[in-house]
């Protein structure tokens, strides 16, 4: 049967990039394009989501992701509420599902969830009728981060397909790494990971990635490096002996980058530990797209919100005009 491709782009939720098609991911990135301009206006607001109620349910501390979502929601005209774990009923022993159901009883439309436990977003999405967006679940996925990474890469290099992207650092504990692997692979990029063996999870090659244990090899190979934040507690829990040594062996420094055969694009999801995984000269240098990533984060999240609210691929421009 030749069914026409459904116009509605995403399903009910965005839990992860695993399993999403090239068309879907490209559709999200394309949808983000017309939304970029809204943030450049004097009055940064269009009523695309007017009347929608969105809850930002953050069980883990987050500044940048939460604010980015909040800006995206507000600039599309939605009403938003932020809930963080301290001071909420989570502390009183209420289960995740009950928390969500109580919110639903107040008639909401969407939930953005950030949670320390892998699978929490899926768990919630399966149990409530509202749209659920994963704002980061444990060590599993952080799909909007990977989408903004890919949008930024595409802005800079004009394409994703065929690019060689290496994710550097603490792969074991990184939801950013997993979402990037799934997303980049779907778009036809080659993906590698680089770090000490103790921070590279077993079975990663079955996700279709190459592995480097030497940062020099990764730099030699890659068109772009996505440098992950090294959590300071990895030292206390024995994954690496010291930050000093990590910087010496795996830090992305200007001296190392200068040996690269091309102008390697530098991404970092933030917040950075300057002088640990990345040196200031690299973070602030001409190859860095770290701040454009943050800017794109708002546009990508607008796109996801719009699409989950029933928007169609290619419909964002019209939606903006119509609502204006």
């Amino acid at each position: 049967m030749n069914q026409p491709r459904p116009e509605v782009a995403l399903g009910k939720d965005l839990v992860g990039l695993e399993g999403l098609s090239r068309e879907t991911i490209t559709g999200i990135l394309d949808t983000a394009e017309p939304f970029k301009e809204i943030s450049e206006r004097a009055i940064k607001k269009v009523p695309v989501l007017r009347g929608k109620t969105i809850v930002n349910l953050f069980f883990e501390p987050s500044t940048r992701t939460r604010i980015s979502f909040e800006f995206a929601e507000k600039r599309l005209g939605a009403d938003t509420v932020n809930i963080s774990s301290s001071g909420s009923s989570v502390m009183k022993g209420e289960t995740l599902v009950d928390t969500a159901r109580n919110l639903e009883a107040m008639r909401i439309d969407m939930v953005v969830i950030r949670h320390a436990s892998s699978g929490a977003a899926r768990f919630l999405a399966d149990r409530i009728p509202s749209n659920v967006i994963n704002g980061g679940d444990g060590q599993h996925e952080h799909p909007t981060q990977a989408l903004l990474d890919m949008l930024t890469l595409r802005d800079r290099l004009g394409r994703i397909e065929g690019l060689k992207v290496c994710i550097v650092g603490d792969i074991v504990h990184s939801r950013v790494a997993r979402s990037n692997i799934f997303g980049l692979r779907a778009l036809g990029a080659e993906v590698a990971v680089c770090g000490p063996r103790s921070l590279i999870p077993y079975g990663i090659e079955e996700l279709g990635v190459e592995t480097f244990y030497h940062i020099e090899d990764a730099i030699e190979w890659a068109d772009a490096l996505n440098i992950l934040r090294l959590q300071l507690e990895r030292m206390q829990t024995g994954f690496i002996p010291s930050l000093r040594e990590y910087n010496r062996v795996f830090g992305v420094t200007r001296a190392r980058l200068e040996k690269a055969p091309r102008d390697t694009v530098i991404l970092h999801p933030g917040p950075m530990n300057r002088g640990v995984e990345i040196d200031s000269a690299v973070a602030d240098g001409p190859q860095s797209v770290i701040l454009p990533q943050v800017t794109n984060g708002v546009a990508v999240r607008m796109a996801v919100l719009y699409l989950l609210a029933g928007g169609v691929f290619g419909g964002a421009e019209a939606a903006k005009q119509e609502s204006a």
Binding site: T95, S118, G119, Q139, R178, Y202
Partner: protein, 427 residues
């Protein structure tokens, strides 16, 4: 004096005597009085028609968690011992990781009394290996045995201290009981599922095969040193099998068990954050499933045990990290093994009965596991061809946690007799 009973018209499969064929079974005074073709019961004997069904020695499960005392919301000795009957088990060994743990003689006595009152399967208590199951000081093993304990274990947790494990394997020899080890290296633990590609994709912390195999290797060394009886619980990793094979080749006093779920399921079951598949040791890969299956065929792994671990709906209905480990196994074990091992031709029916009844009795020196004249009349009557669908709502267990709900199993228990009394009969 109880009334004699004649089970007539069935097929007797009793590997302890090499029997597999049509025969009747006569029970008198709670024991097997005769097995043979066309038996005549004494006057007044109760005649039970079992034509079309198989009679075997009742199944023996060396590893169950009945949760009482302290976990009665999950299971009680009463509900657990009736779940066991429905699964064809006439004897179960109850693990001591209750709250409080079964680490003194009074607690052992409590389990026995509660089991007697339940009138379900025979329940044999296992005593804690260390006080409070803390892995520090040995319990009064002799007192536990005197009160009725049949083994010691800190199951749920390993005896992690090498020195304590050595002393346990030495000291228990006076009392002729085994040490049952949950083999898991503490400093490699902390994961929630098998370490590997699936855990990596799901972003869940992994438990590597080596966490188990390291401790199996260590304990095999201690069994050789001490001569004590080491029994390795729920073997899941192919590397553990290698260590056990070595131990068997050396003729060491080492025995081992494998669960129905480790014989049939892989870590792929955890996809979608399915907490019903969260169990410790974790479901591993197809390679490991093949290795433990082969080991069961070879006799490197001696027996099948369920590690029946009931948990409530609320406990499993959580984020994967927070849900407890465990699978409810008593009522599905036989059908699952029939489907996965016998229907596929890996094991004959007789060999399955051996691994689930005769072998547990043999390695632990128990009375059951046979239909020899004079043995306790502990008998399971089943239809080896019957197909049925797992519906947890039908469980006798107080909990419903199973990853195989909706599966079609083959082979179903119809009656279970304990000491000549029909304690379970399916309508």
């Amino acid at each position: 004096m109880s009334r004699p009973m004649l089970l007539r018209g069935g097929r007797v499969v009793d590997p302890s005597q090499g029997l597999d064929g049509p025969a009747d079974v006569l029970i008198e005074e709670e024991v097997i009085a005769a097995v043979g073709p066309a038996l005549q019961g004494p006057d007044g004997a109760e005649i039970v028609d079992v034509s079309g069904l198989v009679l075997s020695p009742g199944l023996i499960d060396l590893h169950v968690h009945l949760r009482e005392p302290g976990g009665e919301h999950k299971e009680t000795i009463h509900t657990g011992s009736h779940a066991a009957l429905a699964g064809g088990f006439t004897t179960v060994w109850a693990m001591p990781n209750t709250d409080p743990p079964i680490d003194d003689p009074a607690a052992v006595g409590y389990v026995r009394l509660a089991a007697r009152a339940a009138r379900g399967t025979r329940v044999m208590p296992i005593g804690a290996a260390s006080i409070g199951q803390k892995g520090e000081r040995m319990t009064e093993v002799g007192e536990l045995v005197k009160a009725g304990a049949v083994a010691v274990s800190d199951d749920g947790a390993p005896v992690w201290d090498t020195g304590l494990m050595r002393r346990l394997l030495e000291y228990t020899q006076t009392f002729g009981i085994p040490v049952l080890q949950h083999a898991e290296d503490r400093s490699l633990a902390g994961g929630v599922m098998n370490e590997g590609a699936v855990a990596t994709a799901l972003g869940l912390r992994g438990l590597p095969n080596a966490a188990e195999a390291c401790v199996v290797a260590r304990d095999v060394q201690l069994a050789e040193l001490t001569g004590g009886h080491l029994h390795v619980c729920h073997v899941s990793a192919r590397q553990s099998v290698e260590q056990l094979r070595l131990a068997k080749e050396k003729g060491l006093p080492v025995t081992a068990e494998v669960t129905p779920h480790h014989l049939t399921l892989t870590d792929e079951m955890c996809r979608g954050y399915n907490t019903e598949a969260k169990v410790n040791p974790p479901l591993r890969t197809a390679e490991d499933v093949e290795a433990v299956t082969q080991a069961l065929l070879d006799g490197v792994i001696d027996v099948i045990a369920t590690d029946h671990a009931p948990h409530t709906y609320e406990e499993k209905e959580q984020e994967f990290d927070y849900a407890p480990f465990g699978i409810n196994g008593l009522e599905t074990a036989f059908g699952l093994c029939m489907r996965a091992l016998v229907q596929t031709g890996r094991l004959s029916l007789s060999e399955l009965v051996d691994r689930m009844s005769c072998a547990p009795a043999r390695i632990m020196g128990l009375e059951g596991g046979t239909l020899r004249r004079g043995a306790p009349a502990d008998i399971v009557v089943f239809d080896p061809e019957e197909r049925w669908t797992v519906d947890p709502a039908d469980f006798r267990s107080r909990s419903r946690n199973t990853p195989i709900a909706g599966w079609e199993l083959i082979g179903r228990v119809h009656r279970t007799l304990v000491g000549g009394e029909i304690r379970f009969a399916r309508n």
